[in-house]
């Protein structure tokens, strides 16, 4: 079992006060807070080990390179990738998706082809595909969802056609909490030889992910959403695809030989890692993964699920509350609106009371449009949150109802 008090002590920011109120941080789906081990890993790197990597014959460079490549192996094990060179370090989920969209499209997307996404995607898994579809005169197709925020799986068969070149879908919705049945989805797509990219930004901090078991072709994640630093992410890609795809960015690291006439590219993973990598960030991510492994992803999920159910129970009693997203299988976030109170108003008062929740469209405007709302109040829980914090939150919501009711 998890000792939450112990874990909270690992996170310096949780001692913050917002004017006279203790911080209640329920904006974990936007970004998680960082344990001291992550913060220290970065400081230690810059204080003792900092060097550019992969190129130097000197000691620091050698050490930094080893540390960086070890982090790649840590990520390989975390996602259970077959090969460490299938792990590409990027700037975040958004860049991972853009890398695939751009590079995959260059090679495999042609006029009148189709790209399939779902109705509950984050902008980061919509816009990159719109851009390449426009460039290639291809079409973006969308698998719809129902009122509960679950995909209408019946539609899948007819949307996966011989024109579909790739299917990009989120593992967990950041606005609804829905956990999609991606294993089944991947199987269906593969039956028609369609590769699948999974946006795992919201999933990896809550679910055990095994890319080989899922058999997904690409998997994307951000370090900052799983206790790691900003400016780092991961793209997992199956070797067979990454080998075939042309490079994304050009520069140092990703080349084998350069002349002005002709350049040959380096092997995986370097082909896709142009420029000086974010070594400190990657080591911070590794420390974050170690925090997750030490704590146990199942333990984390248990804590979070318990918080989710506790919060649901308490929220149910509010008048005029409408939950946005009622999927059966869900991650630890609740989106809701009060029918008579604007999310901005609620958010402002909650903020004054020290509670950090997200209000607005959560970078998922099409989802808001679908439900006919300007935005939601979203509370998302992490392993360091407590029932006491939820009680504070509920009290604050009562205040909100009182003020605007």
């Amino acid at each position: 079992m998890i000792n939450v008090e112990h874990i909270r002590n690992d996170f310096p920011i949780l001692k913050t006060h917002i004017s006279k109120y203790p911080l209640v941080y329920f904006d974990n789906a936007a970004t998680t807070q960082k344990p001291i081990s992550v913060i220290n890993r970065i400081s230690d790197y810059y204080s003792n080990e900092n060097s550019n990597i992969h190129r130097g014959a000197h000691y620091l460079s050698q050490k930094a390179t080893e540390a960086y490549e070890n982090a790649r192996k840590t990520l390989q094990k975390f996602l259970n990738a077959e090969n460490s060179h299938e792990i590409i370090f990027t700037r975040g989920t958004t860049e991972s998706i853009n890398l695939v969209a751009s590079s995959f499209a260059k090679k495999f997307l042609n006029q009148d082809d189709e790209v399939l996404i779902s109705a509950m995607e984050h902008h980061s898994n919509i816009v990159p595909w719109q851009l390449v579809c426009e460039e290639k005169s291809a079409h973006l197709k969308v698998i719809p969802m129902d009122e509960n925020g679950e995909l209408i799986m019946d539609k899948l068969d007819s949307l996966l056609t011989e024109k579909t070149k790739i299917f990009a879908i989120t593992h967990v919705s950041n606005s609804l909490g829905t956990i999609n049945p991606i294993k089944e989805i991947i199987k269906k797509a593969h039956a028609k030889n369609i590769p699948v990219l999974i946006d795992g930004a919201q999933a990896v901090s809550h679910l055990k992910v095994d890319v080989q078991e899922l058999d997904c072709d690409f998997y994307c994640m951000s370090a900052h959403k799983i206790y790691g630093p900003m400016g780092v992410g991961v793209l997992y890609g199956k070797e067979k695809w990454l080998e075939k795809m042309p490079p994304y960015q050009g520069g140092g690291e990703m080349i084998k030989d350069v002349t002005f006439e002709k350049t040959t590219f380096n092997e995986l993973p370097f082909k896709f890692e142009a420029g000086t990598p974010n070594v400190a960030g990657v080591l911070g991510l590794e420390a974050a993964i170690q925090f997750v492994q030490k704590t146990g992803i199942e333990n984390i999920a248990n804590v979070e699920d318990e918080l989710l159910h506790y919060a649901y129970g308490k929220l149910q009693k509010f008048e005029k509350i409408r939950f946005i997203g009622n999927a059966k299988n869900r991650a630890s976030l609740i989106s809701f609106v009060f029918e008579d109170i604007h999310p901005y108003d609620a958010g402002t008062i909650l903020d004054k009371l020290g509670i950090a929740v997200r209000t607005g469209h959560h970078c998922a405007q099409p989802v808001m449009d679908f439900f006919g709302i300007p935005g939601t109040i979203r509370a998302s829980f992490s392993v360091y949150n407590t029932k006491e914090e939820i009680d504070i939150f509920i009290k604050a919501l009562e205040k909100v109802r009182e003020m605007f009711g």
């Binding site: 604007h342 999310p343 901005y344 108003d345 958010g347 004054k352 605007f404």
Partner: protein, 142 residues
Amino acid sequence: MTIKEIEQEIISEFEMFDDWLDKYNYIIELGKSVQEIAPQYKEQQYLIKGCQSQVWLHAKLDEGKVVFTADSDALITKGIVHLLIRVLTNQTPDYIINTELDFIEKIGLKEHLSPTRSNGLVNMIKQMKLYALAFKTKMQNQ
């Protein structure tokens, strides 16, 4: 009254509150009492979009003075809209263009005017000045 005088009046009103709760309750009351914009102006072309809340703004020239009406979908935004209008409506274009507002900061609501708050208010103020500028140009050409 001049803009500065109205600003001062508002600042005095807000000095009465010694905690944020009373202050916000007052803003909410103001929000509820906004003279709503005429329905024909609650349309796309009068909309100032924010990521979080939205503002509709209409302006007309009346005997050399600019008359604003506005609305918002969020009550707190609406309360602040109310204050902005109270200060800037019925003033001459020149005066509106040349006055820097600072009462919002002084009554402790600055955070709502952060460009990153995306509630439409920053752009509303910009838009009010643009209207004033447009009317000024129009008057000069007459």
